[in-house]
Point group: C2
Chain length 157, copies 2
């Protein structure tokens, strides 16, 4: 229901946000995000067209965020690769419906509105870390774990 492409775009953006000052090669991005390279190339092209990443081709080239992660909300990322728009008019084009949606399309619109609100309310920066959280795409121990007498406690404990 949430598109695979949107998930892949979020992974790619999170991966770049973890190293905001470096150019990351397409190969390294594919490896870290576990996205098939061909698929990722298309996603990066879309993210570039939307002005979210800058790319440099050739040897030593790669990708980086076009602006700080704190200035990119998740809705920007999702809309770069898929459509997430409120329903303003009857999708069937029924004349007597127009902007007065039937209950079916009101419900769908409500679902879309809730997704928009959720993604618009978070920036890429919010995805990178948090108390007791693992870092996205990194298989390392949680950064805020507490160790007491050699026993690892949860960061929220």
């Amino acid at each position: 229901m949430l598109s695979q492409t949107a998930e892949y775009a979020m992974r790619a953006m999170a991966c770049l946000a973890l190293r905001p000052d470096d150019l990351t090669s397409a190969g390294a991005l594919a490896q870290r995000t576990k996205v098939p390279a061909n698929y990722l190339a298309k996603v990066l092209q879309q993210l570039g067209s939307a002005g979210l990443v800058d790319g440099r081709r050739g040897v030593g080239g790669g990708y980086k965020l076009a602006r700080p992660a704190s200035k990119i909300n998740l809705l920007d990322v999702i809309r770069a690769v898929s459509t997430l728009e409120r329903i303003r008019e009857c999708p069937l084009g029924l004349k007597n419906h127009g902007p007065n949606l039937c209950p079916l399309h009101r419900k769908t619109d409500q679902a879309i509105a809730s997704l928009i609100a959720l993604f618009e309310g978070s920036t890429l920066d919010d995805l990178l870390d948090g108390p007791g959280s693992n870092k996205p795409l990194c298989d390392e121990k949680a950064t805020h774990q507490l160790t007491v007498h050699g026993k690892v406690l949860d960061g929220d404990a």
Copy 2:
């Protein structure tokens, strides 16, 4: 973001729910829902496999709901044609994440959870009518319009 297939499945189910006692032919369904016939055939097959519609082939055949619209929630319809499941484990298979999702996947899981709650909380019956509403798929005037001195008022007025 909400898949086209899910939208088409909801239209087909709403269409059948409007005439629960009749068999509706695939052709009539395609016409009323404005879904391409080939695409609709696949959707109907999936809805049949999920036990939501019964079909009868041949002359005079067609489709009807397998149970009353009040007993079919919208999540059933969506899950018949697409995947909408909470994220239980790191989708990248990172060992140190496991069920302890990173903020990226927590956010995605939150979006999925909100969609599940929204669709699980409504039945197909809820989509058919409502005060001041147009009927899904029917290009007719709202059923609850009020007329005062020959002037049509909005049903919510």
